[in-house]
Each structure stands twice: as structure tokens, then as C-alpha cells.
């Protein structure tokens, strides 16, 4: 009982004890330590991968249920209890589907693109603080790492658009490149103003700076929070910023030619990115895993899903923005406001 409580509430201590015990055990065998390190990292990777897949499965189900709520219908409710196994069934269907490769595609790039999209979102999990001590690696450049890695996913989308050898795909890929790059700037500016408050790039320090509810950065940075949500939503290409795959204009954008497993990878990446954006928003503005009574991990999940729900609400309400308005919105509205926000924060930090 005591142990379970410790695992839930003082995960960092338990993990440290476990490491020490394992190292002691290992040293009695007289083997080099790097093997043990590799084993640990593999275990962590496996855990993250498992979490990612199951989480994506659940988010898809959750998205469909939330959409159904907003649209006065039931959503999936046939497979399993209340349709909880619907996404599992869908995934199995996608896996056993024929993998169609169009004749004139650029074979290698076409094959690599889904992984190029997926791998960056997997890598970002390295610095996501799930709970007290539950962070794969608390890098001291944490948030910078996130920004650097998420910027990579544009490569995959662009190459998917190019390799498909389809005009709709190409337009989608180009749109996405323009969109992701121009929304990076307001996002970075917003994150900068948070960093000014926290004084560190490290995820653990950012969370520690928000040790009580009154210190949560959302109350200091309400505009920043909204800007971050908008820019983050645009970064992950979800409605109302889903221009790269705009269904009514570009059929399906850069994923038009993809099917089966490769399509599943794009889907997985999209929903993982949704989770990541919300997780980072939670860490930066909502105090991360901190909260009373419940274990830190649960708090983290609750807060993240709240943000996800908010993004879904936007998705199911708004029409799609046009491509030039998107740029205009970023450069004429988001970036100046983010700048003003940053300067105001700087003054606040300096003089108060």
C-alpha cells in the first residue's frame, strides 16, 4: 500500500532508488555500465512508444465522441463498450489494407515521408514531463529542443506532397511548409515570454516556477496562452488551420495518395502532435503535473485532455481559413501581439 502510494506520488524518489539498486546489482557482475544504460533507455523508449500508440488510439476515439457531442449525435457506439474499441478496429483495418503505391511516385521519398512526419513527434516525448520525475530526459535546453524537433515535421509533409506526384498533394505540401514556418515565429515569441518568467529552458524548472495555482503562467500570460493555442493548432495542421489537407479544396492534400499503413502513420502523427501541443501548453501555462490530492501523472493527463478538448471545440466550430488570410493572420496579428506581449513581460519581469 505504502509502495503504491509512493509510486503514484513520489515517482522521482522511487525511480532514483530503483536506479541505485540496479546499478549496485550490476556492479556486482563486473560488467560495463553502458549496457545497463542502453537497457534503461530501451525500456523508456518502449514505454513511451506504448503510451504514444494507446494514447493516439484513445484520442481518436475521444475526438469522435467530442465531435458527436457538438453535433448532437452519438458517435461510435457499436464496437466494444460505448464504441471504445472502434479505433482499434479501424487500425486493424488500416493495417491489413492493400498498400497502394501509385505508378509515378518517387518511390523512396514516398516511402520515407510518413516516417519523417512521425519520428519528430516521437522524439519530442523525450522532454515531456508526465509527472514528478517521469520525464525521459530533463534536458537543460528542454523547450528549445521541442521547437527544434517539431520544426522538422515540415520536411516529411513537404516530401509527402512532392513524392506523391499529384498536383493536389503538391499544393498541400507547399501550403504546409509556408504555414508551419510562419507560425513558428509567434509561437517562439510566446514561449520566450514564458521563459522570461521562469528563467530557465528546463522543463522541470518551468514547472517548479508555477508551484501554486496563483503562480500558473496562464494568469500572468492569458494572451500568451491563447496565442500559443492558435499557433500550436496551426503548427499541427488541424482545423481551422487544416489547409494542407483541406478536404473541400485539395481532396486530401498531401495524404491523397497514401493508403493503409502509411496513411495510418500520418494519422498517428497528427493525433500525437495534438497531444504534444496540449502537453506543452499544460507544462508552460497550466503548471504541468502539479495539483492537489490526485497523483501528478493523473493531473497531467487531466490538464492535457482539457486543452485537447478546447482545441477540438475550435475544430468542430470554425470554418477553414484561406491560405493568404492564414499568412496575414500570422504576420499582421499574431506576431505583433506576441511581440507586444513579450515586451510587456520583459518590463514586468525587470521592474516588478
Amino acid at each position: 500500500m505504502e509502495l503504491i502510494k509512493d509510486i503514484l506520488y513520489n515517482t522521482d524518489k522511487i525511480l532514483k532508488d530503483f536506479y541505485n539498486w540496479a546499478y549496485k546489482l550490476w556492479s556486482s557482475f563486473n560488467l560495463p555500465f553502458f549496457i545497463l544504460d542502453i537497457v534503461f533507455y530501451l525500456l523508456i523508449t518502449l514505454a513511451v512508444a506504448a503510451f504514444l500508440v494507446f494514447n493516439a488510439l484513445f484520442i481518436i476515439y475521444y475526438d469522435r465522441k467530442v465531435a458527436a457531442k457538438f453535433q448532437v449525435r452519438y458517435g461510435p457506439n457499436r464496437v466494444g463498450y460505448k464504441g471504445i474499441l472502434q479505433t482499434v478496429a479501424d487500425t486493424i483495418k488500416l493495417l491489413i489494407k492493400e498498400d497502394i503505391n501509385a505508378d509515378k511516385v518517387d518511390k523512396i521519398v514516398f516511402f520515407l515521408a510518413p516516417f519523417l512526419v512521425f519520428i519528430p513527434s516521437f522524439l519530442v516525448f523525450l522532454v515531456i514531463p508526465f509527472g514528478k520525475g517521469l520525464i525521459p530526459a530533463d534536458l537543460n535546453i528542454g523547450i528549445l529542443y521541442v521547437l527544434a524537433i517539431t520544426g522538422l515535421s515540415v520536411l516529411g509533409i513537404l516530401s509527402a506532397g512532392w513524392a506523391s506526384n499529384n498536383k493536389y498533394s503538391l499544393i498541400g505540401g507547399m501550403r504546409s511548409a509556408a504555414q508551419i514556418i510562419s507560425y513558428e515565429i509567434p509561437m517562439v515569441l510566446v514561449i520566450l515570454s514564458v521563459l522570461l518568467l521562469s528563467g530557465s529552458l528546463k522543463m522541470g524548472d518551468i514547472i517548479n516556477a508555477q508551484s501554486s495555482i496563483s503562480k500558473w503562467f496562464i494568469f500572468v500570460q492569458p494572451i500568451g496562452f491563447i496565442l500559443f493555442l492558435i499557433a500550436g493548432n496551426a503548427e499541427i495542421n488541424r482545423a481551422p488551420f487544416d489547409l494542407p489537407e483541406a478536404e473541400s479544396e485539395l481532396v486530401s492534400g498531401f495524404i491523397t495518395e497514401y493508403s493503409a499503413m502509411k496513411f495510418a502513420f500520418f494519422f498517428l502523427a497528427e493525433y500525437t502532435n495534438l497531444f504534444l501541443t496540449s502537453a506543452i501548453a499544460t507544462t508552460l501555462f497550466l503548471g504541468g503535473w502539479q495539483g492537489p490530492f490526485l497523483p501528478p501523472f493523473v493531473w497531467f493527463i487531466i490538464k492535457t485532455y482539457l486543452v485537447i478538448t478546447l482545441l477540438m471545440w475550435f475544430r468542430w466550430t470554425f470554418p477553414r481559413i484561406r491560405v493568404d488570410h492564414l499568412m496575414e493572420f500570422s504576420w499582421k496579428y499574431l506576431t505583433p501581439i506576441a511581440f507586444v506581449n513579450l515586451i510587456a513581460t520583459a518590463i514586468l519581469v525587470k521592474f516588478i
Binding site: 448532437v72 479544396e249 470554425f318
Partner: protein
Amino acid sequence: MNKFPIEIEKGLTTDEYILNMGPQHPSTHGVLRVVLKMDGEVVKDAIPDVGYIHTGLEKMFENRKYEQIIPYTDRTDYLSAVNNNLAYCLAVEKLLGIEVPERAKIMRVILCELNRIMSHLLWYSAYGLDMGALTPIIYAFREREEVIDLVESMTGGRLTHNALRIGGFKYDLPKDFIYKLKNFISHFNDRIDEYEALLINNVIFVNRTKDIGVLKKEIAISYGVTGPSLRGSDISYDLRKIEPYSGYEKFEFDVCTGKNGDTLDRCKVRMNEMRQSIRILEQAIDHLKDGDIMAKVPKVIKPAPGEIYCAVEGPRGETGVYIVSDGSEKPYRIKLRSPSFSNLSVLKEIVVGYKIADLVAIMGSLDLVIPEIDR
């Protein structure tokens, strides 16, 4: 055979390319193919290519008796079947010189206006999808379902009602029809407000439609554009007011017009037209008196040789029927004037220079029904 109807200029290499939009594209609403000459995302030229679902209806009519043609007219503009029925029936009745009883006239008005609401609701929901908003379709279909149920309880059909007969109606309104209609009217105006808050007044939507696809008055008239697309360009042309038919002269309603003729105006005209339809329905309930529903029609319909053109104001514009009779049981020739065809032909004039996203918005705002174009 030339694969594309447009040719790219040769000589200096340009970055223009041809994009085939359709026949299978989510936002051409059916099997319409639009061949686009594009420069990046900007449309340089657009040529609609029609005929993918040509059914040969007009030829078929020549082999059918007059009363047998009515169900086929449902299938041209299937979103407002009664309006097509009405255009055809009015034409035949004029040829025969039949005066339809008063009650049947009012019943026809009720069905026509319900059809107009049905059609506009479908336009609204499909337009929401075109604009990337995924929720309006569900809300609008909820109300559309009520209207369909109403019309179904009267005619038995959900889309292809086959409601009218030459000379009036076969069946009278069901007993609880008026009660249900009142029930529907009582809450529908609130729902229109909801639709406007959800989509039409949304700042993203307004930005996407304002000053986009401006249809100038002169161009609209010279292409024969009718219906809400024409009225959006500030031309108060509505056959219900100008040449009242089937007792429309008794009803009080406004002809909704826009100001600039841009996409937003066309949308607003449609939303307001639904409100006016509700007004007409309210008055129609008061006008509805007991009486005959069928005029005296000869058993064998054999109009005297002659020709006639009759048009009604459908949800998309002037739905006309031109009949040439040679005195036999079957018409010599029937020509349908479909509003969507004229409305589509103006596409090239208003779409050039805008982006592909605007093309979708503009095409949606013209409210095209493809079977009606191809017939």
C-alpha cells in the same frame, strides 16, 4: 482528341499548370468537371465541363404522355422537386386552359416554400463543408429532416415527391399537417439565427467571402443568371413578384437583395429567403380554405397544337418549361430551362484571379445542382 479544353501558352516556360477539378471532387457537388488553368494557387482560367450525368430527359419526354412526365421533372433539380413539378403543371394547365381550384393553389404554395427551405438548408450545410466547417451540416439536416417529414406526410416521397398533378392534387393534405407545419414555423426562425451565428457571421467566413467573386449587374443579366445569385447583385428580380403564379400575388413578402454581388451577399440572400418563406407559410395557413383540390381535367390529356413557356421561381432561379404540342397525347418537344446551367456559365467571369479556395467558395455560393445542368 484534345484531352484538355485549355491550352498552355508555349514558348517561354511559365509555371502555369492545368488542374482537373472533378468529376470526382468533394466540392463540385456531383459529377461536374472544372478544368482550371492555375498559376500557383491562383486560378487563371476555369472551364466547366458538363454532361457527365446526361440522362436525356428532354428526349424521353417526347415518348411520354403528359401526365407521365411529372415524376421525371422531379429528377432534374431533385432538391426542389415541387418547383419543377409546378413549372411543368402550370404550362400544361395553360395549354389546356384549366383553372386550378383555390385550395390547390395555396397547397402548391405551401409545398413550394417548404421545398425552398429544404433546398436552402441543404445549400447551407454543403456550403459549410465547402468552407471547412464540419458542424453546420448536422444542424441544418436536423431541420431539413423535419421539413422532409412534413412533405413526406403529404406526398409520400422524401425527395422525389411527385406531388402535383395536372389540375391540382390527387390527395388532400393529411389531417395533422397544419398542426405540424405550425409547430415547425414556431421554432425555425430561431434556428436560422443559430445558423447565422455559427457560420454566416463568423469572422473567418466573412473574410473568406466578402468581396470575393463579385458578380456585376451587367454580367449577371447578360449571362441570364437568376435566383438568389442574381438578387445578390442588387437586382430585385423575383418571378413570384413580377409574374405571380399559383396565387403568389396574395402573399406579402420581401424580395431579398444583396448590395455588392459578392459571395457573402449571395449567402445572406439565401438565409433571408428562408425567413421570407416562413412568412409566406404563415400567411398560407390563414389563406387555406376548404374546397376542391382537383380541377375538371379531361381523362385523356390532349392539348390543342401550340406552344407555351411557363416559369416559376425555384430556389436556384427561374425554372422554366417550354412545351410544343402537336395535338397528340404526347408532347412534340419539351425544353427545360434550368437555372443552374446559366448560373454555372457565369463561373468563368467571376472566378478568374482568385485562389483555389475562393473557387470552392464561389462555386458553392452559386448553388449548383448538376443533374439539372445535364438533364
